[in-house]
Symmetry: C2
Subunit: 390 residues, 2 copies
Amino acid sequence: MTAITDKDLYPEKNRVPPATQTIDLPGDYGTGDLVLRRGGKLRDVVVAYESWGDLNDNHDNVILILTGLSASAHACSSEADPTPGWWEYMIGSGKAIDTDRFHVICVNALGGCFGTTGPSSINPETNKPYGLDFPEVTIEDIAKAAHHALVEMGIEHLHAVIGASMGGMTALAYALQYPEEVCHLVSISAAARALPFTIAMRSLQREIVRNDPKWQGGYYDTNQEPKQGMLMARKLGLMSYRAADEWHQRFDRARIATDKKSDEPFGVEFEIESYLDYNAHKFSELFDANSYLYLSRAMDLFDAADHGGTVNAGLSKILALKTLVIGVPTDILFPVEQQRDIAEGLRKSGRHVEYKELDSIYGHDSFLIDKDRFVPVIREFLDNTECQAP
Amino acid sequence: MTAITDKDLYPEKNRVPPATQTIDLPGDYGTGDLVLRRGGKLRDVVVAYESWGDLNDNHDNVILILTGLSASAHACSSEADPTPGWWEYMIGSGKAIDTDRFHVICVNALGGCFGTTGPSSINPETNKPYGLDFPEVTIEDIAKAAHHALVEMGIEHLHAVIGASMGGMTALAYALQYPEEVCHLVSISAAARALPFTIAMRSLQREIVRNDPKWQGGYYDTNQEPKQGMLMARKLGLMSYRAADEWHQRFDRARIATDKKSDEPFGVEFEIESYLDYNAHKFSELFDANSYLYLSRAMDLFDAADHGGTVNAGLSKILALKTLVIGVPTDILFPVEQQRDIAEGLRKSGRHVEYKELDSIYGHDSFLIDKDRFVPVIREFLDNTECQAP
């Protein structure tokens, strides 16, 4: 295929979207240090976020959106950044997550690379990027950093916390850790604990990145990033995010045009190979390799059972008035059985649970694509929520 | 985890099992050259095989077993090699494929590395391994080489051809290309054409191997093989061969013992990671990287529609008296819909088809493991077959 240059994709490599703002965290008890679950600590953490809609006087109309692995805080366009966000169809004036009613905040995950402190950030102790000196991050820590950011903004009460994929895990962790502050919870294609097939998928992605010679044991030069490893890891990710039937319908056995073929042995011949190449390339050019490793590992480590001995005991810490759990049967990465487990666990501890399985063909990525199926469900749920700060 | 050394696994690296025999092919029309479907040709091809049971006087009690990607011709033990073969439970005296009745021959695939000519064989023109000078191989060529080998043995009539996975594709290709010679056909977890998800899986495996610096553009030193690339590619293969539920039942979130942990960052922590490492390591030590690339690509290229315009027109060339098609619903690589397509295609052209879906938890690999489900089906089918040479 014809080579895609960086220039085509990103005229200037700038990971932080233009409307993203940052907030400095004071650390635990104002010490400047955010103490992490697996023993590490981080000094002077910065959290990146975007927001839409007005905060009301009671500060009780806030919806917090937590992101998947690869998403920035730019979930939706705004005057400051009119480019469509990753959940553009869902958030906005009159949309399912209605910014006429809610003050919507999307936070970039701790350990990520879109403005929140992560392994590519400068380590204040060395004035170089952290690399592998970055401490191990868990889903609980990601929720904690988001929580500290909201406290700094003067928000101590959430109308709802909403997340899909890693964001759904983070939403569960948030609601577990700050139960009194979460009025409603929406968990989409998430997991209360990572299971072996998914761990294996992610573990191999990490191994592929680590084996790129340019990874350099985690201390790579920012001009010499392990992009080939990231490209292949992302292809594997994409395979796990989508469903075989959709690709069958879309690509079947279509070949790329002869003039686009490379001379490379065993190079791209089928459209599906070209599609993966194109999409994974976009990601590998943008995303920091170490952020990928840290966030990927964080998902493996997550287990609600760590919060009470069993998954259900962990989930029973959640006190939200109403919860909405959404699963997609074509999802092979966060399978629908895991969504049923979340719904069942919440029900067992007396939560009001609305459980929906959406007949979407896009696998794990359905929430990003399938507007027609996701909008009515989220809209109806939020329309029937009401909650005031205590 | 503790390091596994080559020595633990293979005291001496010798890819060809001890009971494997070889036969020299005379080439097309005795020219010495085997002409291949995509335009290449191979001189002085050797085919490796093993056999069990006696050939009868009519030479019409032969069952040909065609192998999956990674299997040698050692499907079953014998006096000459008492180690269990890869289908030990299925083949033998009194077993489902009964060597008291049948002369069973298992052939190593063209392009492989267990004795049949492949890219690691010596190129007679250069006296060096072929490497990427090996011509492109298709499933049809693999069937052709097996056919030529049988002709050389004086066998021109098969009681049955049986194959699973790539071997099932090869069995279809064999029955398509030599319809008058195949009395019965057993296709297990095969495909009449490769579909995009499976192509994507294999394409990424190849890309991982090709990006191992030791691959050296395909002309690696046999003492410096791209084992790390093969290790990772095989892990991906293993993930596609098994089913998520089995791993869930078997491993759940079990951790490896603390004293087995390596200090490597992002190293193995969960049992599932250790299991994959161990199993992929065995393979990466043994299998030739270029053979892997060639055979993997051959599967992508296979499409019965190339033999008549549509898949069904291609399948209609098969003239076997009875056929058995087996699928496994937990198989994500060669999904059960593809098995139904094969059965339906054969039925449409008037073949007698027995179609079985086996409720096995082992995914694509079920035929290698699930004796209790596979034995009765194969036994019953073969017990009810009768066929004499014309």
